[in-house]
Symmetry: C2
């Protein structure tokens, strides 16, 4: 941030009184507003249909052409489950009933919190939205593990199939930290529970 | 937002191509940046010590003088459980081990997602930080229910004591919607699970 969104003056980074972090602060004495920046939530669905799960192949960057669950940034004025259902409608044209929160992964290095919900189809209809090349119901043996777009999705699905085999679902909380060379997209996963 | 944080030009609200929501868009042809605004996460702890829970009396607005759990905005570059532990150190000088996610409440009308974790004290020490007037371990009968600062905290503690009586904790997902007159601080609580 270079300019104050409120008054247009130059912004500088400093630690406000009583704070312990660098913030973007407006340099205008008549404004002086402190602009906080915080992580964003990505919300989405594991849509269950009998033994299969709904996957979308991405028609947008990043990770064009790879597979993912329907998910995207939580918007203002919606709940996390409303956001998960909205993203599923937008990306997969699927009308879903959200059941429960399945996984929460923080990716602190990119200021993101993934929250993925189990959901079921209200109607049997689905198909690619604007951001998807194709949408398919896949059983576990059909999941293209080496063509999944995001590590948090891969780990969520690994936990999902393990829970399903074990006979019960719970809410998993974890984080993913990049390891190895920058940009190599390798992560270590640390679970809280 | 009135001015572009990137280039300082005037911002106007419009729906970008391929989007369906009003966004703040820079009017400068050489910039044109779209500025998204998203909900923020509030993360905190239910700190357990034997049968008691750690409560803080607020030394800051809003809700000065009322009681709450140690909690605050998730910061960039930290996980949700790290943020919960950090807020507990800042507000209650308590060093905690975070156990598991207990409740998630979306307050969509103010673009907030509360995430509260069960935690235990690593050491028996605690006391008021800069933002607290006092910090106390309270058992269920001592909780000042009519002096709690935030509805999401009240509902979280109600669920917590109910789970404890029932003999097991799980992760609760819900939302709070304001009802009645604006500003009257009355909510209806809707649980997903």
């Amino acid at each position: 941030m270079s300019f104050c969104p409120k008054c247009g003056s130059i912004v500088e980074q400093a630690i406000p009184e009583g704070d312990n972090r660098l913030r973007d602060i407006c340099t205008s004495p008549s404004c002086g507003k402190i602009h906080y920046q915080n992580p964003r939530v990505i919300t989405g669905c594991i849509v269950e249909s009998e033994e299969k799960i709904l996957f979308c192949r991405r028609a947008i960057q990043p990770r064009y052409g790879l597979w993912t669950l329907p998910a995207g940034f939580l918007e203002n004025s919606e709940t996390i489950s409303e956001g998960a259902a909205r993203e599923t409608m937008e990306e997969a044209n699927a009308d879903v009933e959200v059941i429960d929160l399945f996984s929460v992964f923080t990716l602190a290095h990119i200021n993101q919190v993934y929250m993925l919900f189990r959901a079921t189809l209200k109607t049997p209809h689905f198909g690619p939205g604007m951001e998807s090349l194709e949408v398919e119901l896949l059983d576990e043996s059909q999941v293209p593990w080496d063509q999944l777009a995001f590590a948090a999705i891969t780990e969520t699905m690994r936990l999902y199939f393990a829970d399903r085999k074990a006979g019960g679902f719970r809410t998993h909380i974890g984080e993913m930290r990049p390891i190895g060379e920058p940009g190599c997209r390798q992560y270590e996963t640390l679970m809280l529970n």
